[in-house]
């Protein structure tokens, strides 16, 4: 065989076997592909396989890294109208922190409310709101809020709840059993008509309202004295002489921001108007007492005698007024002479003589006002006193109150009787906590158990709701519609600024839904429409306006209020008969207990608000607890020290609580603030203070409890305060604030004699180096201590603006509170008659800031516009700056306080929404302090730039300044000689604290002038 093949693959091929050529033609050997079927093959194409492989490895890589959803904000592809990310929107509304209904302006960012301030256009609030109002925003984001309806502790939904409750209420009506609505004071006309509607739908329904601390005595007395005239506000600014009788009008009674503004406007060193003179007669040192020119230390149960004695002196001894009084009245007031009164109460007669002389010589320009806790009789006599002195000119009849009388506890006594008789089928609690609030002798808790249906509408669980069958979440006021009469002439609106965070409804909506009796379902607009209708019928239609209703409504909402016309009373007619029934109690018990509202936590509704719990008491600087305040000599007599527990017993009720020795307290008087000691409350309010509501009297309306026994128990309870209390007796530390020139001041007459007297004591400060020049804007602040009352609103406002964390009682105890501003309180004088000086203290932004040169890493340094700035990212936390700060205003994050407080309580999903996005949230190990609201400065600067105008210092309003009800804080450009702050800096009364340290602080304090008599100068 001729083999021509050069290359061969097999011997067969070489041999030229026949089939080898065929084999070559097919790719696979025969039989190999028999099994092959596309059906049986994997469904995945190669493409798909590769895609899956890629994807899975990509996922694997991604999931193994610690990527987590960082909740990044994605910009709108289509921006809603009137909404710019990064730019705040403001809405006018009204505060529901108490029943005063102040007009507020709510700042929202990206749809979430972050700051509450007063509505500047509101005629009553005038841009100011109290500390509670500022901090109430935290309640919105409170993680302990009720998030869904509950029935017997199990989650349910509104539909079921509505259906079941309507059925139950219908049944109650059928059985002719009562349905009782219990609420707090309702100032809203629409809410009231919602309740009226409810009463129509359920004829057996009744409505009872209460306030633990109320003004019924004041209203009652006024109505008796002047039956045809509505209760007016007091125009403090018109008074030259003020006598407050146990009336803390600057601190916690009435509309304190309004009163403060009016009062402080008469303590303005920049105006020529003469200062007012404030006399305060009180048993325990209050904020108002702190600010008095003369303070009379009088037991809280001695004021009937006091006013009688004053009348006696003025009418019967000095014949200065009231000669036309009838003999009955003269007879009444003859019962006590001023001399006797002074002797009985151990008072300086000279002081009383001053008072009487001032009242007589300032007829028509003085005002006497008694506190809410004083009895109707005291108020009646005060009205008489003002009447005969002609002081009723100081009342403000242009803005009278719409008096809304709440029920007395005696009415609730009737309710418990009804319940015990089995006549009540349902109790509806509308944001109230009677189990906690009601006096022990009312036995309400026991009675309520007998009511088959208890429905509690609450923002968060409380002592009462825990025992109710239905626990329904109530919306926060920032999520609610509403209206109210701030005064008769100011109709104020409330509008929601955020959709309800949880499955909650406002009480008005709930009642309206139930009033429908199932005829229609709940709708989101149910109360909105009702409110609008109500407004149209009762306001718009009566006004006869040219604008359409829709337009008027929107304008009203935008403004937050509408003005109403009121009639000015023609003339005041005093009803002298009102005095005939005055009775004088016989004898006094050794100890008297005075119950007062708390300064910041309301009647307990703010117990779970960390900002308010941690806001130091304006006088004692105590946080997180209430206490029994006693006088130093009483403590000595009973061998008590601070933190010692005592047992207070009265009317078969007793309570153990710690004491605090409070200088200025009347001997044998114990004062306790109400609102503390809630048992069922969120994590913040747990174990804070003691419930003294139990001592309230169910038969009367009295916060002055006599027949009190005191016993030392031997136990202790630690009360913490932000400022150490120094003995007033110790010569070594006594009056250091005066000796060191921290507090400077004098009297009016001293100032009139020598206006330069503060400047003359100034130390000569010189520098051995050339000073840095500040061109352009240079920031400075001035604080007028004549106006400042230490009300602490600035601190609350600062906390919200600057994301100041809550540290908790344990950390306050070791001195680690984080507030950037503090209100220092210094005592001088004697323990019985202390002279109190307050001083807001914050970073002084010194030109030669001692903190700056010691920081090893340059984390704190000076800006070209004179700010002492803090670079958090650079700070390593050596704390050297804080050590070297003579004012000790730097605050160190010893922990990550947001994580540390109550086991990361504030690190939930919701609460961080309250943070101001323009301010860094500081973490552990970093120093912080007041920045002069640098974020507001930057915002104002960029606005000026955008508008193409020159940036002026007055464009900036810092948070504390904005909130100060007294307008005591001025901020601006000290290089601008025309600016307000420059004028304060140049003022003769201006001084700097610790000037001799030559750190050149930029906060000027205006020395306090006390308006005492010239011979005392």
């Amino acid at each position: 065989m001729d083999n021509t093949k050069e290359y061969w693959k097999s011997l067969d091929e070489y041999a030229g076997k026949t089939n080898s050529e065929d084999l070559k033609k097919s790719e696979f050997l025969e039989g190999v592909t028999d099994e092959f079927s596309t059906e049986k093959m994997s469904k995945f194409s190669r493409r798909k396989f590769l895609a899956l492989l890629t994807a899975s490895s990509a996922f694997a890589t991604a999931s193994c890294s610690d990527y987590y959803d960082q909740g990044k904000l994605v910009p709108y592809t289509k921006r809603p109208e009137g909404f710019l990310p990064g730019k705040a929107n403001y809405y006018a509304s009204s505060c529901a922190g108490c029943s005063e209904s102040c007009g507020i302006l709510i700042k929202t960012r990206e749809g979430r409310p972050i700051k509450i301030d007063g509505n500047p256009e509101h005629p009553i609030s005038k841009g100011k709101v109290c500390a509670k109002g500022h901090a109430s925003i935290l309640n919105l984001y409170d993680p302990d809020r009720l998030k869904a309806p509950f029935k017997n502790g199990r989650k349910t939904n509104w539909k079921v709840v509505d259906k079941e409750i309507i059925a139950a209420l219908n049944q109650a009506v059928e059985e002719k059993k009562k349905i009782v609505l219990v609420s707090k004071k309702i100032a809203s006309p629409s809410y009231k008509s919602v309740i009226e509607n409810f009463k129509i739908a359920y004829p057996t329904a009744e409505h009872l309202s209460y306030e633990v601390f109320n003004d019924l005595n004041r209203i009652g007395a006024w109505e008796k004295s002047y039956p045809s005239t509505p209760l007016p506000a007091i125009a403090w600014e018109k008074a030259d002489v003020i006598l407050s009788i146990d009336y803390d009008f600057l601190g916690r009674e009435g509309n304190v921001t309004e009163s403060t503004k009016r009062f402080s406007s008469r303590r303005d060193v920049m105006s020529n108007e003469k200062f007012n003179r404030l006399y305060v007669a009180e048993g325990a040192l209050s904020l108002t007492g702190m600010n008095s020119d003369y303070r009379l230390r009088v037991r809280t149960d001695a004021y009937l005698d006091f006013v009688t004695a004053l009348l006696n002196e003025i009418v019967l001894v000095q014949y200065a007024a009231g000669s036309n009084l009838n003999s009955d009245i003269k007879n009444i007031i003859s019962k006590k002479s001023l001399k006797d009164f002074a002797a009985e109460n151990n008072l300086d007669k000279k002081l009383l003589d001053y008072l009487v002389a001032d009242l007589i010589s300032n007829k028509g320009k003085a005002i006497v006002a008694a506190g809410d806790s004083q009895s109707e009789e005291v108020h009646l006599l005060v009205n008489l006193l003002n009447e005969i002195l002609g002081d009723n000119k100081v009342y403000d009849f242009d803005a009278p109150f719409v008096t809304e009388k709440v029920n007395r506890f005696s009415d609730f006594k009737k309710l418990t009787d009804e319940i015990n008789a089995g006549n009540v089928a349902a109790l509806v609690y509308l944001n109230v906590d009677p189990e906690f609030h009601f006096p022990a002798d009312l036995q309400f808790s026991k009675a309520a158990e007998k009511v088959p249906l208890k429905i509690a509408l609450v923002e968060s669980k409380n002592d009462t709701s825990a025992k109710a069958e239905y626990e329904l979440p109530s919306s926060h006021y920032l999520e609610s519609w509403g209206d109210s009469f701030t005064r008769a002439n100011v109709y104020t609106f409330r509008q929601p600024v955020i959709a309800p965070l949880y499955n909650s409804r406002q009480p008005e909506e709930v009642l309206l839904t139930w009033s429908l009796k199932g005829a229609a379902e709940y709708s989101e607009n149910i109360y909105h429409d009702f409110l609008k209708d109500n407004f149209q019928n009762n306001v718009y239609n009566k006004k006869n306006l040219a604008v359409s209703f829709e337009k008027y409504w929107l304008t009203a909402l935008h403004d937050g209020f509408v003005s109403m016309e009121t009639e000015t009373p023609a003339s005041l007619k005093f009803n002298a008969d009102s005095l005939s029934g005055i009775k004088y109690p016989k004898g006094k018990s050794k100890f008297v207990l005075s119950l007062k509202p708390s300064y910041f936590i309301g009647d307990g509704e703010y117990a779970n608000n960390g900002w308010l719990q941690e806001l130091p008491h304006p006088v004692s600087k105590v946080t997180w607890d209430n206490y029994a305040a006693v006088s130093p000599s009483m403590a000595k007599e009973l061998d008590l020290e601070n933190n010692d527990k005592i047992k207070i017993s009265a009317n078969n009720i007793s309570l153990e609580m710690p004491i605090l020795i409070q200088p200025g307290t009347a001997d044998n008087q114990i004062e306790v603030e109400l609102g503390y000691g809630r048992k069922i409350v969120g994590a913040v309010g747990r174990d804070t203070g003691f419930n003294a509501n139990v001592f309230l009297n169910s038969s009367g309306n009295s916060w002055v409890i006599s027949g009190v026994e005191i016993e030392k128990t031997g136990g202790t309870y630690k009360i913490v305060s932000t400022q150490e209390h120094h003995s007033l007796d110790d010569e070594f530390v006594k009056d250091l604030h005066l000796k060191r020139g921290i507090i400077q001041g004098g009297t009016i007459s001293e100032y009139e004699k020598n206006p330069n007297f503060i400047q003359e004591e100034k130390p000569e400060v010189f520098s051995i180096t050339t000073e840095h020049e500040y061109n352009g804007v240079k920031w400075a602040m001035a604080i007028d201590m004549n106006k400042c009352t230490s009300c602490a609103v600035c601190v609350a406002s600062c906390n919200v603006e600057n994301n100041v964390p809550v540290v908790g009682k344990d950390q306050v105890a070791v001195g680690r509170e984080m507030q950037w501003m503090r209100l220092d309180r210094y005592y001088s004088g004697t323990p019985d008659a202390p002279i109190v000086s307050g001083q807001p203290m914050l970073c002084q932004h010194c030109d030669f800031a001692p903190c700056e040169n010691v920081c090893p890493v340059n984390a704190t340094n000076h800006s070209p516009d004179g700010l002492n700035q803090m670079v958090y990212n650079r700070c390593v936390g050596t704390r050297y700056c804080a050590n070297n700060c003579p004012y000790k205003v730097r605050r160190f994050n010893f922990f990550n306080f947001r994580d540390h407080f109550e086991d990361a309580y504030y690190l939930n999903e919701v609460t961080p929404l309250v943070h101001n996005p323009e301010v860094t949230v500081r973490s552990r190990g970093v120093m912080e302090k007041c920045t002069f609201c640098v974020q507001r400065i930057s915002e104002a600067r960029s606005e000026a730039k955008a508008e193409g105008r020159e940036f002026k210092g007055d464009d900036v309003v810092v948070a504390c300044q904005q909130s100060c009800p007294a307008d005591a804080i001025v901020f601006g450009d000290s290089n601008d000689m025309e600016s307000k702050v420059s004028k304060y800096r140049e003022h003769q009364l201006g001084y700097h604290v610790l000037e001799e340290t030559a750190v050149k602080p930029n906060v000027t304090y205006i020395a306090k002038l006390r308006n005492t008599h010239s011979e005392e100068a």
Partner: protein, 455 residues
């Protein structure tokens, strides 16, 4: 009473031990297995260290809030400990450098150990600035390093000066110590019985052959280094004192601080060295090398520096009065009679009164008594730093911000841990390196040097 012949310089080494026996004696602890007592001691110090580490971990995990520091009192135990340990670190270099330059032969027996303690004390001290900051993971910001932000530390800050002063001091002390060790390493190398030891000592002795040239260079280097270290002894605590003196705080802002701190540092350093040496000479049977005369001399220095410190206390009061500054006056009266009076009087009695006992020769030469006194001195000096740091901060300008400082358990644990750390090093040192300089001791034994007396 024996008659002392003052015409003759007394030998600082008792007896006239053969030179070879010195080699033998000093290298013996290195060649024998550790005893049970050694292990027990090590267990104790390591346990203390462990407690400190737990305290530190807690502080790192939760934050500086685990300590007693509060708002007016920004500095508490950690800074007190820092100043205390830096102070302890002063005796070594003083003994080895300054006394060397002053030709004090008695220093030869104790210099090595004192220097070792210096290094360990500075190491211990060095822990505190790093851990006391709020964010220790960023402590690196304190060092000047080039970075893209062109950010430098603040050269005005005394804390930064501290960083330089302490690290310079540590480096120089360490080099000085090592140079001194070179001839001894050579001795050990020559005596080594195992290969490993031989290799290690060969490396560490840097090829030392005891040649004349080597000795000549060595002496020169040692002299130069001594001259170099001398100002550092004074500068370190001077700069540490600036941490306080540069501040505006009453009680801190004072020009007396640098000499006062240096005297205090020498005082406490000598007390610590004396304490440890008393134990070492007993265990290692070095009584004839570290003689009672040497100890007496140390006690005399303690008495001197104790009085310097006492003078400073008095002068602070005087200047406070003399300056007419009422806030300053208050601070000092407050120190003595205020809330921290207990600490102040512990300080005064330990630092000023106790060393007065050294006026008595008998006490100066009685080991148990002097030991106890030196312990008190250390306690007192720790309290001195406590008094300075805390009292000024707790009650400064504004009475409103005053607060009482109370240390926590964690503070205590870290303080204990620092002692554990220090003594662990001391123990390891005593078994791994010659605790007395072989070469230097040989040079001061009677007859080792040519003397005019034998002509």
């Amino acid at each position: 009473m024996s008659v002392v012949d003052y015409t003759q310089e007394l030998s600082v080494v008792e007896g006239k031990p053969p030179l070879r026996s010195i080699d033998e004696l000093i290298s013996r602890p290195l060649n024998t297995k550790p005893t049970k007592a050694y292990y027990i001691a090590l267990t104790v110090t390591l346990s203390m260290l462990g407690i400190g580490v737990i305290g530190l971990l807690l502080s790192f995990y939760y934050g500086t809030g685990m300590w007693g520091n509060n708002n007016p009192v920004g500095w508490g135990f950690p800074i007190v400990n820092f100043v205390f340990w830096v102070g302890i670190g002063h005796a070594g270099t003083l003994i080895s450098a300054i006394l060397f330059l002053l030709r004090q032969k008695w220093r030869n027996g104790i210099a090595r150990f004192a220097e070792g303690m210096t290094i360990f004390a500075v190491m211990t001290a060095g822990i505190f600035p790093a851990i006391h900051v709020g964010r220790p993971w960023l402590a690196g910001y304190l060092f000047p390093y080039p970075n893209q932000h062109s950010l430098w530390p603040n050269f005005n800050s005394p804390l930064l000066w501290d960083v330089f002063a302490v690290s310079t001091y540590f480096i120089v002390s360490f080099v000085f110590w090592y140079v001194g060790l070179i001839p001894d390493f050579a001795v050990l190398r020559d005596r080594a019985t195992t290969k490993i030891k031989k290799t290690i000592y060969s490396v560490t002795s840097l090829g030392w052959r005891n040649s004349n040239r080597h000795w000549q260079h060595y002496e020169m280097v040692y002299l130069v280094l001594a001259g170099f270290a001398t100002p550092l002894v004074l500068s370190v605590h001077t700069i540490v004192s600036f941490d306080f003196a540069v501040a505006v705080l009453p009680g801190w802002h004072s020009t007396i601080f640098p000499p006062y701190f240096v005297a205090g540092a020498v005082f406490s350093g000598f007390a610590m060295v004396q304490n440890v040496l008393i134990i070492i000479r007993k265990i290692f049977k070095y009584e004839h090398i570290i003689t009672i005369d040497t100890l007496e001399k140390m006690n005399k220095i303690m008495m001197l520096t104790g009085m310097l410190v006492g003078y400073a206390y008095a002068m602070e009061f005087f200047i406070a009065w003399y300056s007419g500054n009422p806030i300053e006056q208050f601070t000092f009266v407050n120190r003595a009679f205020g809330p921290y009076a207990w600490a102040y009087w512990i300080m005064v009695s330990c630092n000023v009164l106790m060393p007065q006992l050294f006026w008595f020769r008998k006490i100066r030469r009685t080991i148990p008594v002097m030991f106890v006194i030196a312990v008190f001195v250390n306690v007192g000096m720790w309290f001195e730093r406590f008094v300075i740091t805390v009292t000024s901060l707790a009650n400064d300008f504004l009475p409103s911000s005053w607060a009482y400082y109370k240390p926590t358990l964690v503070d205590g644990a870290i303080l204990l841990g620092s002692f554990g750390f220090f003594f662990t090093w001391v123990l390891l040192f005593s078994k791994t390196l010659p605790v007395v300089s072989i070469a230097e001791i040989k040079s001061v034994i009677d007859g080792s040097q040519p003397s005019h007396g034998e002509h």
